[in-house]
Subunit: 212 residues, 2 copies
């Protein structure tokens, strides 16, 4: 056991990707164990008995659950290449946006998984989230939320860069119109050019036929 690092996850999950990016940013070697969510492993159920969900980071035999909690743990344990500002006030601002990501990002997933009225509601919520990010100027005249390099807030919103465009294609809608979201679109382009992002972006399946 010792200090080895294992990640129980699902390659296609945006929450899993957050942890992969943080580990890569810190240069930490880890073993990835792909879970089958339709037949969860005994280890996953033991490591996360409350939620029974991925991702779970296991370090030296001890599990840490919930993606943002895992990112905070990684930051505490391996403080080099910091993912949070050192100033307490700036750190609180970052954590405000981490909570915003936690609360609002699931709407993006619900756009795909839900249907009918619930899907419409998820589309509306996603658009509100994107507008808040665009309008609050966090990424205005900056490459990243973390200024000149990505930080934990960029990682928390990484799912937007990866999933939004394919979901738009899949649903046949356009949320990120170029004239309305210049800051967010610039951020997505900058983010996708980061080497660890490029290296860990697995190919997405082509959009499937709409289910309803």
């Amino acid at each position: 056991m010792g200090t080895e690092v294992k990640l129980y996850g699902v390659c296609a999950s945006p929450y899993n990707w957050r942890v992969v990016l943080a580990l890569k940013q810190k240069g930490i070697e880890f073993e990835f164990i792909e879970e089958d969510l339709s037949n969860k492993s005994q280890m996953l159920l033991e490591y996360n008995p409350v939620h029974k969900k991925i991702p779970v980071l296991v370090h030296g035999g001890k599990p840490v659950c919930e993606s943002i909690v895992i990112l905070e743990y990684i930051e505490e344990k391996w403080p080099h290449n910091p993912l949070l500002p050192s100033d307490p006030y700036e750190k609180a601002v970052a954590r405000f946006w981490l909570k915003f990501a936690n609360d609002k990002f699931p709407a993006i997933i619900r756009m795909v998984l839900a249907s009918g009225e619930e899907r419409e509601e998820a589309i509306k919520e996603t658009l509100e989230m994107l507008q808040t990010l665009e309008e609050h100027g966090l990424i205005r005249e900056k490459k990243f939320f973390g200024d000149d390099k990505i930080n934990m807030v960029d990682i928390a919103f990484s799912g937007i860069a990866r999933y939004l465009e394919p979901i738009e294609s899949y649903l046949g809608i356009k949320l990120l119109e170029a004239d309305k979201f210049p800051n967010l679109l610039a951020w997505i382009n900058n983010f996708k050019e980061v080497p660890i992002v490029k290296d860990t972006l697995p190919p997405l399946k082509p959009p499937q036929k709409k289910l309803d």
Copy 2:
């Protein structure tokens, strides 16, 4: 301005109470500004433009929003009388439960505010939350989540100690049955005996007539 601390809040809010308890635990002097939620002050809207919600802590003129983010800020800024364990793994475990509190506690409020099917759903969710807390042994053979003194996790769940019993009376239901929740009931009793808790527990209005 300098380093003065102000709290924009509502005395009856469980989220506000979290911040009051953390400030008291640290012995920090602060000015409390009671907001009228039906007519929010210009200051509140400026300080929390994203959510327009209380509580907002203003320190030296700079606002921090979202109760758990505020608690983390207080802990960073005034590290004496710590509210989180110093060990990174123990801190991650505490943060797991802080997220659990953030995600699940709102069901308690919805038991009162919602009606019909939505209220039934909120009651079910509240019961699941209470069972998880009871069964995962966090407070078994310990006075508090923080062991022999309260920590940030106790503060995050403080609303249970304060609101659950009056809400049970108001709704005419019993969730915390003595034989099923010995750990949680012991924790509530211990928590209510803590001097800063006793000193800041404002009297609750008598249960009003049920609305439906």
